[in-house]
């Protein structure tokens, strides 16, 4: 078991390295180097960068030296938690991303948890009571959830929230809490705002997971080991949760890996519509403005999240299905 996790972790480290190379390549893609763009940018707004300052920056980023030196210099900064300057914002990238990264993770996790909390029981119910009215209802709602683009859902909910409840459902904070210092009240404010975006972002995934759970469980429910368990005298609820559901959980665990970054990058439009302070819209703006240190950093972080998510799902899978461990050795 430990050897398995160790091997996975080692692979993860290698993957992260590959991602960092890729992120660096993205930063290098636009014509001209960072300092020339920086000077041009400054000039367009009327300020002047002194030759001294420019030279300083060139040395810091190793510009003019071979690519691998530049990469190592950048990595050196990254490891110390410095990701370079954002040109558009004229502030360090860490400051620009700042809270957004944590808020993104909070929103993503909330959406993921909501997906599971809704999809697991509904999927189980749908399979166990196949073709019951409840199953048909879940199927109906599920397909609608899959078919409606979630930015449209976001708009509709914004409209109804505004017209009928006179509430502003966008954003993650009330206006007065927007720039407040972190405090208990601000966390509570976040909690109150979280369910709506989590629901909108998680709905398509929920619908999909209900269908997956239902289909998997229907296959498993007919297996002889379920009859064996039933013939032992277990209660129906206990035997279904212990045996077929455990086997049917497999695809749930294996999708965690890509669910996390998907919620970030796939939710750009929703985040714009709802005005969520997450990294999605930031990535979009950075790409449009060719703000390469910012874009590269976000890509690097998204990659890191994917790798961590995959590692988590690998470990969960071994726990759910010990056969995987046997195949490895």
């Amino acid at each position: 078991m430990l050897a398995y996790v160790g091997r996975r972790a080692l692979l993860a480290v290698f993957t992260v390295w590959a991602i960092s190379v890729l992120s660096f390549a993205i930063i290098q893609l636009p014509p001209g180097d960072y300092v020339t763009s920086y000077i041009a940018q400054m000039a367009s707004t009327g300020s002047v960068v002194s030759e001294e300052e420019a030279q300083q920056l060139r040395i810091q980023y190793g510009l003019g030296q071979p690519y691998y030196v530049q990469y190592l210099k950048w990595m050196n900064l990254v490891v110390r938690g410095e990701f370079g300057m954002s040109m558009e914002w004229r502030r360090p990238v860490t400051e620009v991303i700042g809270d957004r990264l944590w808020l993104t993770m909070v929103v993503s996790l909330a959406a993921l948890v909501l997906t599971w909390v809704l999809a697991l029981p509904i999927g189980i119910y749908s399979a166990v009571r196949q073709y019951s009215p409840g199953d048909y209802a879940a199927t109906f709602v599920g397909f609608i959830g899959l078919a409606v683009p979630n930015f449209l859902l976001a708009l509709v909910l914004l409209y109804f929230g505004f017209v009928f409840l006179n509430a502003h459902v966008g954003g993650l904070f009330s206006p007065e809490m927007q720039d407040a210092e972190w405090s208990g009240a601000r966390v509570w404010d976040l909690m109150k705002h979280l369910p709506m975006p989590a629901l909108i972002l998680g709905l398509a995934g929920t619908a999909q997971q209900i269908r997956i759970m239902r289909a998997n469980l229907l296959d498993e429910l007919r297996k002889p080991y379920v009859v064996t368990a039933r013939s032992k005298g277990l209660t129906e609820l206990r035997l279904i949760l212990k045996y077929p559901v455990r086997v049917a959980l497999n695809p749930f665990a294996s999708t965690i890996g890509y669910t996390l970054p998907y919620i970030v990058s796939g939710s750009i439009i929703v985040s714009l519509v709802l005005g969520l302070p997450t990294v999605g819209p930031l990535l979009l703006k950075a790409l449009i403005a060719q703000d390469m240190f910012l874009a590269g950093t976000i890509v690097l972080l998204l990659g890191l999240m994917t790798v961590i998510g995959t590692l988590i799902s690998d470990i969960l899978l071994v726990w759910i299905d010990p056969r995987i461990r046997l195949e490895e050795t």
Partner: protein, 330 residues
């Protein structure tokens, strides 16, 4: 039958309401199982053997439903009618696994692939006996040793796919017998095993029966297994018992044309060389298209026109402990 039967099934009917129509999988089955005896239920595929077994345990899959009949199961002095109990109620669950246990045909998939074998046997013990987790595990290891699983202390923590087919079936038997049931239902327990393993498993079941004194209801289509194991035989055809008798009477004095045809269709070691086997003419009718009258009449060599296709015969006595459902014996 001299002794009070342990299990007495009377006119059991289990129907499946499907979109295409009503499938009468079990349609008026009656038979008795005496304590400590081995009753073999014999018949072709789809004759309702397995559904009968599942009806007794009340684990028929939906949309199957027991629509009529009694399943009298003796517990101590009194008999309980299992057909009237709530299938998932506490009383039925207390009987299931503890007093009536089931082993069935696919040792490959009868254990959960993601739980250890020991965990699944422990569960049965913990469910029906007042023992600690530790005690259940000791009992599990003891049971595995009894059924001849080598080094049970290690095997207990293995997954079922780390065990061979024969070992899996032994573990299955260990699980079924862990609570000392009075009735063991074995649904084709050796069909999926090779012949050597098959003999070993049957031998094991016989030995455990001698030690524990439980009755076995053995469901099979293999008349060789019947001859080796059974004390009594019930022959089923299309959801009904057509003949029930002690095992010797079935092999030496078969009454029902279907039983006689079955026996003619299997090879014998001491037969003359190049003797032809006689297959049963025609095939099993589709369940939606059950023949009117005696359901065997279209394939029967002794068919009486105007009688067999008009009404169905009842199961009636035809000798000591021998019952047959055929107009030839009325």
């Amino acid at each position: 039958m001299a002794a009070e039967p342990l299990l007495s099934v009377r006119n059991l009917k289990t129907y499946f309401a499907q979109d295409e129509g009503l499938v009468k999988a079990v349609d008026g089955v009656s038979f008795d199982v005496a304590p400590g005896s081995t009753m073999a239920i014999v018949g072709e595929s789809g004759c309702g053997k397995s559904v009968t077994a599942r009806s007794i345990l009340r684990i028929v899959d939906r949309p199957g439903r027991i629509v009529e009949g009694e399943i009298l199961f003796r517990r101590g002095e009194a008999a309980t009618d299992l057909a009237t109990l709530d299938a998932n109620g506490a009383e039925m669950r207390a009987i299931r696994g503890a007093e009536i246990a089931l082993i069935f045909q696919e040792p490959m998939s009868s254990f959960s692939p993601v739980h250890s074998v020991g965990n699944q046997i422990d569960e049965a013990i913990l469910l029906h006996q007042a023992v600690s987790r530790r005690g259940a595990r000791d009992k599990t290891i003891e049971m595995l040793r009894r059924v001849g699983v080598p080094s049970p202390e290690e095997r207990v923590d293995q997954l079922s796919n780390q065990l061979s087919g024969g070992l899996r079936q032994r573990a299955m038997i260990a699980m079924a017998l862990s609570c000392q049931p009075t009735l063991l239902i074995a649904d084709e327990p050796t069909t999926a095993l090779d012949v050597t393993t098959q003999t070993q498993i049957l031998e094991l079941m016989r030995q455990l029966q001698k030690e524990d004194g439980m009755a076995i209801m053995l469901i099979t289509h293999d008349l060789g297994v019947v001859a080796e194991m059974a004390t009594d035989v019930a022959v089923m055809y299309l959801g009904r018992v057509v003949e029930q008798a002690p095992v010797d009477a079935i092999f030496h004095d078969p009454k029902h044309p279907y039983t006689r045809a079955l026996l003619r269709s299997i090879p014998r070691i001491r037969s003359r060389t190049r003797e032809r086997l006689t297959p049963i003419a025609g095939s099993v009718p589709h369940p939606f298209d059950r023949p009117h009258g005696c359901s065997f009449h279209p394939r029967c060599t002794d068919f009486i026109a105007g009688r067999c296709d008009a009404s169905a015969p009842e199961l009636g006595p035809a000798g000591p402990g021998h019952a047959v459902s055929c107009f030839l014996y009325e």
